[in-house]
């Protein structure tokens, strides 16, 4: 199986001895994610969003040592915890969580300005065009559809000059042609910018078509790892998986 090599070397995310107990489930992981795009797949309640929020520094695990490209984000043994704003992360949550008092443009630029960016980021034009928000940038949030809100959240993360994008079902409300087009654009940016992406989706075809690695979670634990295992585990999706590029199968 041949994977396209990224233009820039990817960064690695190392989650060591991660343990987090919650009333509904407990998360237990020990993985090194060293591909540009890692898909997180699994049923609802498997711990995918919780894992993203632990990486983003929004939730604290009971124990873990988390490193991103050699930079320590958290180490419960020594009590080290890098605050969320310093983690260089662009998080697009599943429920978008846009800032209701800001218009679309201000939402899009929130992360960019928070990280000291002036004016517009270099990716501005192509990002706004790719997420099809060109005519909406001056508008208030009121009246945006669910899909438009998700696209704003996705573009906000992309434009935040982060090194690690955490994308939690960012395209769930969009129809297939738009999703495909957006994923192609995202892939281009990932390879060009050398960013690392953790991508959550419930769509197996998306996992295979877009991700370089897949982590399948169930009840907080890894039950499968890697694209070949993933394809083998989803024979029922074979017809849909045939629509992905041949070099990925």
């Amino acid at each position: 199986m041949a994977f396209p090599e990224p233009v820039l070397p990817s960064m690695s995310l190392h989650l060591q001895k991660l343990r987090a107990r919650f009333p509904e489930f407990s998360l237990e992981l020990d993985v090194l994610l060293d591909r540009p795009v890692t898909g997180l797949f699994g049923p609802s309640g498997a711990g995918k969003t919780t894992l993203l929020e632990i990486i983003a520094g929004i939730r604290r695990p009971d124990s873990a040592r988390i490193e991103f490209h050699g930079r320590l984000l958290s180490d419960t043994e020594t009590g080290f915890f890098l605050p969320s704003p310093l983690r260089q992360i662009g998080y697009a949550p599943q429920d978008a969580v846009l800032f209701p008092h800001l218009n679309v443009r201000q939402n899009l630029l929130y992360g960019w300005h928070s990280r000291g960016g002036r004016g517009l980021p270099s990716l501005w034009d192509e990002t706004v065009e790719a997420v099809e928000l060109t005519g909406l940038v001056g508008r208030p949030l009121a009246g945006l559809s669910g899909g438009e809100r998700q696209r704003v959240a996705l573009a906000r993360a992309v434009l935040s000059s982060a090194r690690l994008w955490l994308l939690d079902e960012p395209l769930a409300s969009l129809d297939h042609p738009v999703r495909r087009r957006l994923l192609d654009r995202l892939r281009g940016w990932v390879d060009r910018l050398g960013v690392t992406v953790i991508y959550v989706s419930h769509d197996p075809a998306e996992m295979v078509a877009w991700c370089d690695d897949v982590l399948v979670l169930k009840a907080g634990r890894t039950v499968a790892r890697g694209i070949p295992d993933f394809i083998a585990a989803h024979p029922q999706d074979k017809s849909r998986l045939h629509s992905v590029p041949h070099d990925r199968l």
């Binding site: 520094g57 929004i58 605050p83 969320s84 998080y91 949550p93 429920d95 800032f99 929130y110 982060a162």
Partner: protein
């Protein structure tokens, strides 16, 4: 209304506005800390802030008098370091009004901050915004209506303050006399028509402010 009445109204509004401007920054910070963090001594601080609400205002005034007189440690410091006297001056009026209004503002602001979704603040932080930027660009705007209602409530409370002011600043016409103090003096002197005139002004001001504060504290959808 006589020119003296207008001057009195202007002085009272000015003192109330100045005291509100002074109390808002520490009040915002306190309300934010109380709404968002648990820290040792939090209950103690909450109790101290609430004291002016439950203590007789003259008792609060007496505490302030002890603190700000030239024998009190704050008053002695201000006099020796800056040559500033607070007792029986307009500064005393401002201090008394600010302290008596602070608990009302902190309570309103605390409720307003508690109503702001933590999720918005967390996502803002994950996008690189430090705590100060999150506070000013997310928490304050989202709590805006409640904060404004708190400001109006504090301002309205300051307009009507009597007990602490009369002890700390006295009731000196033209220097420290506010609307409330002037009403009291007119009643004491049997000048009922003057007292009634000032009463009407107070009622109109209070009605407008309390009504606006109430309107602001409601969600837009439940407004008539």
């Amino acid at each position: 209304m006589t020119s003296e009445d207008w001057r009195l109204v202007g002085f009272t509004l000015g003192m109330a506005a100045f005291s509100t401007v002074l109390l808002v920054p520490p009040g915002l910070w306190l309300a934010w800390r109380l709404a968002r963090w648990n820290w040792p001594g939090k209950t103690w601080v909450e109790t101290v802030i609430a004291l002016p609400l439950v203590l007789p205002p003259v008792a609060t005034g007496l505490i302030l008098l002890k603190l700000f007189s030239r024998q009190g440690w704050l008053g002695a410091f201000l006099w020796e370091a800056l040559g500033i006297s607070v007792v029986f001056t307009w500064r005393g009026v401002v201090v008394a009004l600010a302290l008596m209004s602070l608990p009302l503002f902190v309570r309103s602001a605390r409720v307003a901050f508690a109503g702001v979704s933590r999720r918005h603040e967390q996502i803002a932080a994950s996008l690189g915004a430090g705590p100060i930027r999150v506070f000013w660009t997310v928490s304050v705007p989202l709590a805006g209506r409640g904060l404004l209602a708190g400001v109006l409530l504090a301002f309205a409370r300051a307009l009507g303050e009597f007990g602490a002011t009369v002890i700390l600043a006295g009731n000196i016409p033209g220097r420290t006399q506010t609307l409330a103090l002037a009403i009291y003096q007119s009643v004491q002197m049997g000048d009922d028509s003057h007292a009634l005139r000032l009463l009407m002004i107070s009622v109109v001001l209070a009605f407008v402010l309390a009504g606006t504060s109430e309107w602001l504290s409601r969600s837009p959808s439940s407004r008539p």
